[in-house]
């Protein structure tokens, strides 16, 4: 199941995805699923569930801020509390 890391803008999502890819973590960009954000249009970086922890560490090391983190559970998304 994928995890979604949300960003405040597409540019930041792109920067994050590029950074993860450079560090060997497969990541792609997708629009936030319906009902997961109250900010309107939002983009997320999608990573494999088991790479979430290393992804967040990598982003922290690069100084890239992110928003909420969601994990897919069936057809629903639940927020991951860090």
């Amino acid at each position: 199941m994928p995890a979604l890391i949300m960003f405040r803008s597409l540019t930041y999502a792109q920067r994050a995805a590029r950074s993860l890819q450079r560090q060997g973590i497969p990541a792609d960009i997708t629009k936030a699923p319906q009902g997961t954000t109250d900010k309107g249009c939002t983009y997320c970086v999608r990573v494999a569930d088991q790479r979430l922890s290393s992804s967040l560490n990598a982003l922290r090391n690069e100084g890239i801020e992110h928003g909420r983190i969601l994990q897919q559970s069936g057809s629903e998304y639940r927020e991951v509390r860090l």
Partner: protein, 374 residues
């Protein structure tokens, strides 16, 4: 035609620029809007261009804001920094793209005048007036004379005195090193369609200071918010960006990266000196500096009879494209004492050959010597 008007726009471009634009026109949708592949391809291209510019100018990709041209970028920078009544120090070589927005912002404009090609005097002119001013706007290279102002030293002095600096890199981007981190200035504005080899309708503003939008509208993010997002670059990019233009600009940046700034600089420098040698002793007044660090890629001259328009017209008929007049920079002419006549400007591209430039030089000299006919 031999094109010697690259200071206006780079008509000579790598072939990949046009191909990338055509590809974008056919296949790319609006970036930062949809999530389907044509929209994401556009977003990827736009981001790749941000990254390429960030690498060339030593900044983060989100500090790269796409604009319509350098004038748009300068207007954004001045809008963010200048309030009515502020004292703004500028060089004596500024373009109307600096002067007019400052006047429109009701700034009190102070000119740091210094003689042509005298870099030490230019620095001293800034240093001596900076303390009484709220901000500095300075061109890196004069679009009329090719005079290279000592921008690194001026930036260091601005930093020392705590005065924000806007750099107009219209004539230097893509040929001379520009480092936002090292300069640590507020903004750097540049066109995409000159030294960066992109198409017309593209420009870049590098941001290192709080910004204020000039245009308000959709950005594809934070959509519920009634005001523009706080984050760059979206904050300054209302509406759909020029994706085909940015795709072309990306190829221009790749050409620069592959060729190397130093090689481009040396090629342009060499063509400038070669051309000056060709037109020397033609009876024209030539604005040329023997110090290579003081002049880059642009050479102005005034024919013996002072009729610049006539010379440009004759050159045009002979297949040589140059610009005559004031070059949208009346201040530079006031400083250099050429306001009455203007000048004929020859400007060089790294894609020109010595053969082309030699032929242009020979014809120019013949026209000057033979009373404007070949």
């Amino acid at each position: 035609m031999i094109y010697l008007d690259s200071a206006a726009t780079s008509l000579l471009k790598p072939k990949s620029v046009g191909l990338a634009m055509e590809h974008a026109l056919r296949t790319m949708a609006s970036p930062s809007r949809g999530g389907y592949s044509a929209a994401m391809d556009a977003a990827e291209t736009v981001y790749a261009c941000r990254e390429a510019a960030a690498a060339l100018f030593h900044c983060e990709s989100e500090q790269v804001v796409f604009t319509m041209n350098a004038t748009h970028a300068l207007n954004l920078a001045i809008h963010a920094l200048v309030k009515p009544g502020m004292r703004i120090l500028i060089s004596g070589y500024e373009h109307n793209a600096v002067l007019r927005p400052l006047i429109a912002a009701s700034a009190d404009v102070v000119v740091a005048r210094s003689p042509l090609f005298d870099r030490a005097a230019a620095l001293e002119a800034f240093r001596s007036r900076m303390g009484e001013c709220d901000a500095v706007v300075c061109t890196h290279v004069s679009n009329v004379f090719g005079f290279v102002l000592p921008i690194e030293e001026i930036a260091a002095e601005c930093k020392r005195q705590g005065v924000p600096l806007i750099v107009d890199a219209s004539q230097s981007a893509g040929a001379l090193p520009i480092d936002l981190k090292a300069l640590d200035c507020a903004f750097i504005a540049m066109p995409g369609h000159k030294g960066l080899m992109g198409p017309q309708g593209t420009g870049i503003l590098l941001c290192n200071h709080a910004t204020l939008p000039l245009l308000h509208g959709g950005t594809g993010s934070d959509s519920r918010r009634r005001t523009m997002p706080e984050l760059l670059p979206e904050r300054l990019e209302a509406g759909t960006v020029n994706v085909p233009g940015i795709a072309g600009l990306l190829e221009g940046l790749r050409y620069i990266q592959l060729t190397g700034l130093e090689r481009i600089r040396l090629q342009e420098q060499s063509l400038l000196c070669f051309f000056e040698g060709c037109v020397r002793d033609s009876g024209a007044k030539i604005f040329f500096s023997a110090a290579p660090e003081a002049q880059h890629a642009v050479l102005s001259l005034i024919p013996g009879n002072g009729n610049c328009e006539q010379l440009a017209e004759s050159l045009g008929r002979a297949g040589i494209a140059v610009r005559s007049g004031l070059h949208c920079a009346p201040l530079a002419h006031e400083t250099a004492g050429t306001s009455e006549s203007g000048t004929v400007r020859f400007s060089f591209s790294p894609l020109l050959t010595e053969k082309d430039v030699g032929e242009a030089g020979r014809k120019t000299k013949e026209i000057l010597k033979n009373n404007y006919s070949l």
